[in-house]
């Protein structure tokens, strides 16, 4: 850009107590605005300034850039009790400045962000965490009450919501569950084969895959898939409803969001999870079988018989119990984060992310607890 086009400001003394700001060139946001500090220095270095005037004859073009500059000058001058004569500014600028000053800033709206000691911040964090725990417990309590109402036949929700959610977290999840559990079965078989082949025991790959899938991996993998898929979706749905005040509208009509929104989702997921888990078990075993038959030279029937011999119904049952627990927890995490969602679209994103994290933590923790319990009672 040519020198003459650039926005320039010169400070000079018109009289002993009047300062003249001469503005030149193109005052556009895109080409940059001169810093205000220079003027500030000049004013501070010269005493007895009472008035400030502008000369804008050589301003070739302007936009909000000039207006914000003038506003900055004005704020500074009001603080330092200097009168400002705006009459020599371009007329449009004068009008925009008057409009900007027409509504006085509302007192108390400027957020002061006080600097706090680390101790205070730590304390606040602890309080927030405690509040979070409190909210979680309250939510679990409310959800249990809603569940109780369901058992008593008094829960009110739309059956169509339930069937829609069942469809969403049942059939529509089949492709991804198939893929992941098939591959997990495959991986388990490979990992086992490397060790077992060393002493010619590769037939036991069938046991490893069968037991691993039925007791543990089937439930765990479906849990994590559903956490990322459905838990996040629940949080986003409920979060959006909160942002749109749809939940408020329910409350004012006396319809409990717990029964209308949370209950069908928890119900759908805890009904569908065991089914998905059983399906994942079978897909995983299939994956193991593919490795066994194609790479370990095991016969199809041989592998099948070995799997059948190593697995009891109890193993499947234990996995299903786990998956049901995961289903409840994932639905709970999703709905909890959704209901706690803040009032903006960013908050919906945070709610969805946090639902996934919460689900995974819930799943892993409850899985460890259940495994220890299974071990203790010897099943």
């Amino acid at each position: 850009m040519r020198k003459s086009e650039e926005a320039q400001v010169h400070v000079s003394h018109a009289t002993s107590d009047t300062l003249l700001l001469t503005l030149k060139g193109s005052w556009k946001l895109q080409s940059g605005i001169p810093p205000f500090t220079e003027i500030e220095k000049t004013i501070e270095s010269s005493t007895g300034i009472q008035q400030l005037t502008f000369d804008s004859q050589h301003v070739t073009s302007w936009d909000s850039g000039l207006v914000t500059f003038v506003l900055r000058v004005l704020t500074y001058c009001t603080q330092h009790r200097i009168e400002v004569d705006r009459t020599d500014l371009p007329e449009g600028v004068q009008r925009l400045v008057s409009l900007a000053l027409a509504v006085p800033e509302q007192q108390g709206t400027r957020r002061l962000i006080p600097s706090e000691s680390w101790l205070a911040r730590f304390g606040k964090e602890v309080m927030v965490t405690l509040e979070g725990a409190n909210a979680m417990i309250a939510f679990v309590g409310d959800a249990s009450l809603a569940f109780w109402a369901l058992l008593a036949g008094k829960a009110r929700f739309r059956r169509s919501d339930l069937s829609l959610t069942i469809q969403e977290c049942g059939i529509q999840a089949l492709p991804i569950v198939s893929l992941i559990s098939f591959l997990v079965g495959l991986i388990l078989a490979f990992v086992g084969a490397v060790q077992l082949q060393q002493f010619g025991a590769h037939i036991y790959v069938a046991d490893l895959v069968g037991l691993g899938m039925a007791r543990e991996m089937g439930a765990m993998m479906t849990g994590i898939i559903m956490g990322g898929r459905t838990g996040a979706a629940f949080a986003a749905q409920l979060g959006t409803m909160r942002v749109n005040q749809e939940i408020d509208a329910m409350i004012t009509l006396g319809l409990s969001p717990m029964e209308f929104l949370v209950l069908p989702r928890m119900l759908a997921l805890s009904l569908m999870m065991p089914l998905l888990c059983l399906y994942a078990d079978l897909m995983g075993i299939l994956g193991g079988m593919v490795v066994g038959v194609t790479m370990l030279d095991l016969g199809f029937l041989q592998y099948f018989n070995q799997t059948q011999a190593s697995l009891s119904l109890m193993d499947f049952f234990l996995g299903l119990v786990k998956s049901m627990v995961f289903g409840v927890l994932v639905a709970m995490a999703g709905c909890l984060r959704g209901m706690q969602c803040g009032n903006s679209s960013a908050a919906v994103g945070i709610a969805a992310t946090s639902a996934v994290v919460t689900s995974i933590v819930f799943i892993v923790v409850s899985d460890s607890i259940l495994t220890v319990i299974y071990n203790a009672i010897g099943v």
Binding site: P104, Q106, Q107, G108, T109, R156, R158, D161, Q237, T240, M241, N244, Q245, E246, D248, A249, M250, I251, T252, L253, G254, L255
Partner: protein, 259 residues
């Protein structure tokens, strides 16, 4: 019209705040049965917030709201929920349930609280939608209709159960002048035929003067109410500059708003 000695709604020393951020303090006024009560004030002064306190969505920082003399916020949650069933609320954003069609939106409260047959319910739904000029839009989803139409559908939902008290947050925002006029007539009709009390947040000067029987003016700067009274009376008698400016669109006292 039934005129009881106790006012239908009384607001007592209500102070509203979001955390430390004070919105309004020391609000005290009453709303009589059959009133069309207008809540006025500049943008952001806390009108919607006041409505949230009246309908039970936000607990006051101080003070209370009484319905027919009974405390609302100091009552048990169950009795508050019972009271809330007599309300019909239109939110500023419409707040229609986005996963349901317009018909289902209006249907849900009817299906929950009445013993009508599905056919009867469907008839009532069509009637309510027709009242707000949305006949034929039963099977549309909220995202398939315009903002003004969503507002009107929200209105139909608020009226679904013929509630005793209607709370409308800017019902005419986003409506064309003719729909807006029709809405005024509808509100008057609801009051007259159903004996409902109507509390409206609105900026529409024409409807303020046409239907408002009483009003309160909230101010954002002083964070409290400046006046209570019928809009006409405020226009004629209030000496407050802010109220005069508001009621005359800043044109001074020379021009009387026409009805």
């Amino acid at each position: 019209m039934v005129m009881n000695a106790t006012p239908h709604i009384s607001i007592e020393n209500l102070t509203m705040a979001y955390g430390d951020f004070l919105i309004q303090r020391d609000l005290t006024f009453t709303i009589n049965r059959g009133d069309i009560f207008i809540i006025m004030g500049g943008s952001g002064c806390g009108k919607s917030t006041l409505l949230r306190h009246l309908v039970g969505l936000k607990r006051p920082a101080k003070g209370d709201v009484r319905y027919e003399g009974e405390s609302f916020w100091n009552a048990q949650p169950e009795s508050r929920a019972g009271r809330m069933k007599q309300f019909g609320v239109l939110f500023q954003s419409g707040a229609l349930w986005s996963s349901m069609t317009l018909a289902e939106n209006v249907e849900l409260p009817l299906a929950e609280y009445t013993n009508l047959t599905p056919d009867e319910i469907r008839e009532i739904v069509s009637f309510k939608l027709a009242l707000v000029g949305l006949a034929g839009f039963e099977e549309f989803y909220p995202n398939e209709i315009s903002g003004g139409m969503q507002k009107r559908a929200g209105l139909a939902r608020a009226m679904a159960l013929d509630p005793e008290i209607l709370f409308f947050d800017e019902p005419s925002a986003g409506l064309d002048p003719i729909s807006s006029r029709r809405l005024d007539e509808l509100i008057l009709e609801l009051r007259d035929s159903l004996g409902a009390t109507v509390v409206i947040v609105t900026h529409e000067l024409a409807s303020i003067f046409a239907i408002g029987t009483n009003s309160v003016f909230l101010d954002a700067e002083t964070k409290t109410m400046l006046a209570v009274g019928s809009p006409r009376m405020l226009l004629e008698e209030s000496a407050d500059h802010k109220i005069q400016t508001f009621l005359t669109r800043g044109d001074g006292k020379t021009e009387k708003a026409d009805t």
